[in-house]
Amino acid sequence: MKRTRHPLRMALGTYLPILLIVLFAIGPYLWTFISSITPETDLYRAEFRFFPEHPTGENYSRLFTKLDFTSNILDSLLVALFTALLGLGITVPASYSFSRFKFKGRNPLLMQFLIINMFPIMLLIVPLFVMMRIVGIMDTHFALIIAYSTFTIPFSTWMLTSFFNAIPLDLDKAAQIDGCSRIGALVRIIIPVAMPGIVSTGIYIFITAWNEYLYAAILTSSKVRTIPIALQNMIGEFRIEWGLLTAGGIISALPVIILFFFIQKQLITGMTAGAVKG
């Protein structure tokens, strides 16, 4: 619908509401950022100031000097990275199979991955805790990687199957005529073509693992401490150091938001493909 609108109507009918919604979406971040560069004492002053008189990076430096935030970042990085690699390693072949072959039990199997995606986390967390205590992997990175796979594997299977389905079958056939085995076709033709989708899915797994809190709170304690747990621990019994917390929040949310901007197009395509087609 190409139609020129009256500028005033455009301003009031489109720009103003969009501006309000954008403000609602990023307002909490702006305030968190402002708080993070405000000296701790100024945060609790009686008279209210929107911007600090003397902006400071002190909260950020305290995170790394007074607290062990570097090791929290490393823990999160390690867990998120390996969760993504494990998830992709397992679901790329499975999704290829779902997309390319018709076999007995295919539909129920695929359905099963959709249904387990709906299970409440509380259905799994207690037995996983008991299991990991018995095996003796409590408070390790491995425990979290396993726990996170409970939601990344079903999700990733669906996403990747949808990406593979978008690749024309002729490509496989051409590869086979050229003498590729089916595995050869997957490795040499399909994976490279599907790479944007695979990378986006991997990054999405990375983001969800990076953000996860509940499993980490139950399965880890002192040796492994991911960022969400470290932030939660900063909430003291009587006092909350909001300067530190807001700085930590900004540092941990920033990489996720930046990564997300790179993959948003791919991700949305993959997620809406099923829903829009109906």
């Binding site: 489109t14 909490p28 968190t32 709906m118 967390i125």
Partner: protein
């Protein structure tokens, strides 16, 4: 889906490719799930190992006469319905606006997505700080504009705690609605609108007779996905209020979590989890059946 098979010959390759995913799923999802069902019929309190054992439906009987279970159930419904309704309305309005052509649309779309990728812990902390009863931004602004005389302890009083957390969750989830509905809007062919316009349909008529029916599948799918997600989400509640003040922000997952984490009562916690799952499955099947029915009409 819907693609012809590469080969019809019976062979094991497709199964071999699926096996690792399936094996892991069985080990870390299905086995634990059955374990939880077993626990739900057992007395299992971590610090009372001698008393561990099968007790039949005892935990379920307890749940049905437990006032805290009843109030958590009610909170769960309030939680789901209010969040989904507002996320949908706000998300739909956003999608309609983003579907128009204007300068800066790409940037606006990206910024609006930001809440959706925000870690739950950060969402909870940011809003907790803004709601703060002594120095929070919301109180400061309300006072500045003369709307309140005394600061409101949003998260510390039973009358406002639930509503305040609901707002935080609406914030986090409305972009998902916006983006799904926007994709749906963009998939509606322009010809449909043009044809309706030629037939003399007004703007409102076009909205209700073209946009809404065409968007229905996306709306229904998105609502279903979000309902499941919202029903299960508990981390934001845990961090913002921990279920309090009193038990005013207890939902079923929160109750189950606190029973397991603080009470170490794995049996009863599992019972609540199983009941929650049954409830969700009922909602989902009822919902899917309704969709199928409405598509037949």
């Amino acid at each position: 889906m819907g693609q012809p098979p590469l080969r019809k010959k019976r062979d094991l390759l497709p199964y071999a490719l699926v096996t690792p995913a399936l094996a892991i799923t069985i080990a870390i999802i299905f086995l634990p799930m059955f374990q939880t069902i077993t626990y739900s019929f057992s007395q299992y309190i971590l610090y009372k190992p001698q008393e561990k054992g099968f007790i039949g439906f005892e935990n379920y009987k307890t749940a049905f006469s437990d006032p805290l279970f009843a109030s958590s159930l009610i909170h769960t419904f309030v939680w789901i319905v209010s969040i989904i309704v507002f996320q949908f309305l706000l998300g739909f309005a956003t999608a309609l606006l983003l579907n128009r052509r204007f300068t800066g649309r790409g940037i606006a779309r990206s910024l609006i997505l930001v809440p959706w990728v925000t870690p739950s812990v950060i969402t909870a902390l940011m809003w907790r700080w803004m709601y703060d009863g002594n120095h929070g931004l919301i109180n400061q602004l309300l006072a500045k504009f003369g709307l309140i005389k005394e600061f409101i302890p949003f998260l510390a009083q039973t009358s406002t705690a639930m509503g305040s957390i609901i707002v935080a969750l609406i914030w986090q989830g409305f972009p998902f609605f916006a983006i799904m509905l926007l994709a749906g809007l963009q998939a509606i062919p322009d010809e449909l609108y043009e044809a309706a316009e030629i037939d003399g349909a007004t703007k409102t008529q076009r909205f209700f007779n073209v946009t809404i029916p065409m968007l229905k599948p996306v709306i229904l799918t998105t609502i279903l996905l979000r309902t499941i997600w919202v029903a299960n989400s508990l981390d934001i509640i845990l961090i913002m209020t921990g279920g309090g003040p009193g038990y005013s922000t207890y939902t079923l997952p929160v109750y189950s979590y606190i029973k397991a984490y603080k009470g170490m009562d794995f049996g009863y916690s599992s019972t609540i989890a199983v009941l929650l799952t049954i409830l969700l499955m009922l909602i989902v099947t009822g919902y899917v059946r309704n969709i199928l029915k409405s598509q037949e009409d």
